[in-house]
């Protein structure tokens, strides 16, 4: 029988600094992941627990929250529950998001098609930098421009005070346009050249190729681009708050002051005391925002997975 080598003597048991570095790196990245995960979990926990306490601690009615149209969480009904009809903000948020997506989508896809199919040269040289620049403009600037240009324009040439869903929609569509355009461009450029050639080789025109092959193939990607844009629009606070008018009523037209979840949240959060019904009600709005963004993320994931091949 071979003689057993003492552990410390055999080269296989040698300690090396490389191994230590390896372990250190592994630990470092793991710590980063852990911290991120913990933070996310903590934020979720905070928002959910605070948001739900409107219903469980202050005795607010869930039904009223989604269907009531009077928002006054500082006051109480006769039964002692706070007045928390959030329908005006829900409709406001959905309206500006939906409408801005509606305006933005054709523009973004058109711009992306131009940059990718019609004039790639001008697209690369001019449009791409412009769009990257637009992405970088802070939202408060968009809001400021909206306030000083869009609102007066609507007031003078359309109707009302200028504040309202229409102004919010215009500002938001411009704001999400670069994001949606660049994502749409990615989706369109991801369509392989071979598919384009196959279509051309069948004697189709460029327009037929774009319409029937490129848009069709890029559909999941384009949908994702729009959803990303909607997520951004839904969560945007500052710019919208500056132009929407912030009236907690369900507006009868696009040109009457309205409000969104985010605008009420930013308006109110400085003036409430932690732990009160008013404060908790704001957390409930935050919870809705969180859940919506979660829904948008899941939608994007789901579409991404459904992509053929």
């Amino acid at each position: 029988m071979a003689k057993l080598v003492k552990e410390t003597e055999h080269p296989l048991f040698k300690k090396s600094s490389k191994l230590r570095t390896e372990r250190f790196g592994k630990g470092l990245t793991f710590a980063a992941v852990l911290l991120t995960a913990l933070l996310t979990a903590a934020i979720f926990f905070l928002v959910i627990s605070k948001g739900l306490s409107t219903f469980f601690v202050n005795g607010g009615s869930v039904k009223e929250f989604f269907t009531g149209s009077t928002w006054n969480p500082g006051q109480k009904h006769e039964g002692g529950s706070p007045i928390i009809g959030a329908l005006p903000f829900l409709t406001g948020s959905l309206a500006v998001t939906g409408l801005s997506a509606l305006i933005c989508t054709p523009l973004a896809i058109g711009a992306a098609l131009f940059m990718s199919e019609i004039s790639p040269k001008a697209g690369r040289k001019v449009m791409q930098p412009v769009i990257e620049l637009l992405v970088g403009i802070p939202s408060v600037v968009y809001g400021f421009i909206g306030l000083s240009v869009v609102v007066p324009l609507l007031r003078d040439h359309v109707t009302g005070s200028g504040f309202g869903i229409a102004a919010g929609t215009i500002v938001l569509s411009v704001m999400i346009l670069p994001t949606v355009t660049s994502l749409a461009l990615d989706a369109i450029q991801a369509v392989p050249r071979s598919l384009r050639e196959a279509s051309l080789a069948l004697g189709s025109t460029r327009w037929q190729m774009i319409y029937k092959v490129i848009l069709k193939t890029a559909k999941p990607g384009l949908l994702m681009a729009v959803i990303f844009g909607m997520a951004r629009a839904f969560g945007e606070a500052l710019a919208v708050q500056m132009v929407i008018g912030n009236a907690s009523v369900i507006p009868h037209s696009l040109f009457e002051p309205a409000s969104t979840l985010t605008s009420i949240l930013t308006m109110g959060m400085g003036y409430t005391v932690l732990g009160t019904a008013e404060n908790n009600a704001l957390w409930t709005l935050a919870l809705i925002l969180l859940l919506m963004s979660l829904a948008f993320t899941i939608a994007v994931r789901w579409i991404g997975r459904g992509k053929p091949q």
């Binding site: 790639p120 392989p192 071979s194 598919l195 384009r196 050639e197 196959a198 279509s199 051309l200 080789a201 069948l202 004697g203 189709s204 025109t205 037929q208 029937k212 092959v213 069709k216 193939t217 053929p308 091949q309």
Partner: protein, 276 residues
């Protein structure tokens, strides 16, 4: 002056050409006269003169980068869409100069179909893939489309395999089936000439055999030009062979002669595996 002849449709079922005789058939279906293709400053094809007879299969062989694919793509003006690509010389189809201004490039591609190296089915149903061309060119009647789709799939030897799920996505087919679908898609345009750019190089041997058999069937009705890297394939399926090297056409002749007794030393070396 060129006399402009109306291209004759040869795909109707009555026409059955048995021998390459008669005045109509002595004129080549397609010919190039000192055709050169440039990508920017790079000349990919130099002064190629070639003739393609009706109802024959011509194989273009040669090492990678020899310009045979570029040459093929020039024949239905697919190079038009490539930035910086320029052509010189003439391509005559039924005696018509294809690069002339009056020629409608969409019609050119309709009559001179093309199938690429990799199968490229659209993300549509099998039916819509085949119907794509005819619909784009104005066939509207459902019955007519149904007939074209069935005909084309039958000609591409795919009908029996897919007839029960025509409306499912073409992306679910196997690679070999997808390539035959692409051939069916090209046939649906009822082309006079079919250009095949290494149509079997991405396929397994069984699928390859099917495609080769298909080519043998199709040449009864149309003229076929095929680029291939596979020497045995060229020998098996083609009537004529042209050897390309460094953008030039070195030798062109009946396949048997090219393979058994090439005139050029270069051709002989390539065929025996010393070049390439």
């Amino acid at each position: 002056m060129q006399t402009v002849a109306v291209p004759s449709r040869v795909l109707s079922s009555q026409t059955h050409v048995t021998a390459l005789t008669g005045p109509e058939l002595t004129r080549p279906k397609l010919e190039t006269d000192r055709l050169s293709v440039f990508y920017g400053d790079h000349q990919a094809v130099s002064d190629v003169c070639l003739t393609f007879k009706k109802n024959t299969v011509t194989a273009l062989i040669g090492p990678s980068g020899c310009g045979k694919s570029t040459f093929l793509r020039a024949l239905n003006r697919m190079n038009d869409s490539i930035e910086g690509c320029r052509m010189a010389g003439e391509i005559r189809y039924d005696g018509i100069e294809l690069q002339s201004r009056q020629v409608n490039v969409l019609e050119v591609r309709k009559q001179i179909g093309m199938v690429f190296q990799r199968p490229v089915p659209f993300a549509k149903s099998i039916y819509k893939n085949v119907a794509y061309g005819p619909i784009r060119h104005g066939v509207k009647k459902k019955k007519e489309l149904d007939r074209i789709v069935e005909d084309s799939l039958r000609k591409a030897a795919l009908w029996d395999e897919v007839k029960d799920f025509l409306h499912q996505s073409a992306l679910r087919l196997s690679g070999g089936q997808q390539q035959r679908l692409c051939i069916a898609r090209a046939l649906a345009m009822q082309p006079d000439v079919l250009l095949l750019d290494e149509p079997a190089s991405a396929l397994d041997p069984v699928s390859t055999a099917k495609i080769e058999e298909l080519i043998g069937q199709l040449k009864k009705e149309i003229t076929i030009i095929i680029v291939t890297h596979n020497m045995q394939q060229a020998r098996r399926i083609s009537d004529e062979t042209a050897y390309f090297y460094m953008g030039r056409m070195v030798e062109h002749g009946p396949t048997e002669q090219i393979f058994s007794n090439p005139r050029s030393e270069q051709t002989r070396q390539y065929i025996s595996g010393q070049i390439g």
